[in-house]
Amino acid sequence: MSVTEMFSYIQGFLSADQDVREDIRKVVQNLEQTAREILTLLQSVHQPSGFKEIPSKCAKARELFSNVRTQMAELKTKFPVEQYYRFHEHWRFVLQRLAFLAAFVVYLENETLVTREEVAQILGIEVVREKGFHLDVEDFLAGVLIMASELSRLAVNSVTARDYSRPLRISNFINELDSGFRLLNLKNDPLRKRYDGLKYDVKKIEEVVYDVSIRGLAKDPKSGGDK
């Protein structure tokens, strides 16, 4: 094989690769659009009026997630599944966002931490790599961390909206999350950087709890305790 032949073979490979990336980018753009729509919808829970409408907002968000599932199905057709990590960076950001949104919806609904299986199910993807397009564990954890900072905001706004017991529940939840993350041995990577921000969310929520408790605003102070 001559040098020229070799290089034109490689060039063919590279341009095929670029076409795939182009296709992926288009679908990811749509996904980002949907993710923004869901985010806008959920943002309204921070409004004073939004607190009463949390269940209906969540139901609406869940409807929008069906769009995500169709778009995910489209994304899966754009590249060979065993090359997931080759193109990972194209959808990493949006997947973390979507994991956050799914986790947030689940938290608002029943105040528990979403499992990876649930997120995967909401997004219409797999949990384990062998089965196809999956949710990487780091992306899932990043999504959970985004939710933690969203919850610290929610704690503040729930006080404003005269919902004084919510911060205590959020505090318990975040503390559990924090001890969960402390079990992990993180490398010096983007996930670690994001985890470093978790302590500020914890602090913020604790301050809110403090303010509420010393003023006796919480209806049942014992529920904020160690229980």
């Binding site: 094989m1 040098v3 070799m6 079990l183 992990l184 041995n185 403090y210």
Partner: protein, 283 residues
């Protein structure tokens, strides 16, 4: 006052949080989930570190093979050197076999960053040896064809149980086109050194062959241009410098070769290359 109170409160709270950690209910769903994540992340990081280590070994051994091959210009027994280099590269291939073993059933791009430097160095060494032997560019298929491993010796029962029954014994490693390209770009630097070295030994033909070969590679890279990965365009600049040096060397040989006796040519050439080197330092 407010501040101090706040501090005291938060310290107490930290203690409380730590206490909670110690007594963290191990049966809680969140903690149980995070224990699973811990295991998954740890095993992933461990694998990554192992691959980085193998990759470093590959880099070192390949570099040694390249140094050895540079000796080919000034020893009488070229074939002996080439065989020795081939032996070294066999050792490197075994290490690549270890990478293939680690990557069995994994997505190779997930860990690609861990071993790409070693693979590039290996491509460089293999293509250098191939050039010295055959005066041509080794193709990607030829490289990949040699990276097929029979999984006979260290076959752990766990590994072979995981492998699909169809390819239980044979492991392959595929060099990606991008790694190949970057390895070939590095090769041009070695060829430049070979060219300068061979003139020092009074070899007049090799520089011209090399300059022609380098020009072909350069044209190939220009053809790819910026469609390739980002690193390729970076290496293209170095390639251009190497090509310039080789072309200058050929120029000198042509111009001065016609008027100077052969035994003096080496001196002329050496002084010129040192001159070029100092120039490069300024630029």
């Amino acid at each position: 006052m407010n501040k101090r109170e706040g501090e005291g409160w938060s310290r107490r709270n930290v203690e409380a949080a730590q206490e909670r950690d110690v007594h963290a209910n191990p049966s809680s769903a969140v903690i149980a989930a995070f224990k699973v994540f811990q295991q998954e992340l740890d095993s992933r990081h461990d694998k990554y570190e192992r691959l980085v280590k193998i990759s470093r070994d590959i880099t070192i051994e390949s570099k040694r093979a390249i140094f050895l091959l540079h000796r080919v210009t000034n020893v009488p027994n070229a074939e002996g050197v080439l065989n020795e280099a081939e032996g070294k590269l066999d050792g490197v291939r075994q290490k690549i076999g270890q990478i293939a073993e680690e990557l069995r059933g994994e997505d190779i791009y997930q860990f690609h960053r861990a071993f790409t430097p070693g693979i590039q160095e290996y491509v460089e060494a293999v293509s250098f040896l191939h050039y010295i032997r055959h005066r041509s560019l080794v193709s990607l298929e030829e490289i990949n064809a040699r990276l097929v491993f029979m999984n006979t010796e260290n076959s752990d029962p766990k590994g072979s149980a995981e492998a699909p029954p169809s390819g239980a014994r044979v492991l392959t490693f595929q060099v990606t086109p991008a790694d190949y390209l970057l390895g070939v770009a590095d090769l041009t630097g070695e060829l430049m050194r070979l060219c300068i070295g061979s003139v020092g030994n009074g070899d007049i033909d090799t520089p011209f062959q090399l300059s022609q070969f380098l020009r072909q590679i350069h044209d190939g890279f220009s053809y790819i241009g910026n469609t390739g990965p980002y690193e390729v365009s970076k290496k293209l600049h170095t390639l251009r410098q190497s090509l310039g040096k080789v072309e200058d060397a050929c120029y000198t040989l042509r111009v001065r070769g016609s008027e100077i006796p052969k035994h003096m040519l080496a001196d002329v050439f050496c002084s010129r290359t040192t001159h070029m080197d100092t120039e490069e330092g300024v630029v």
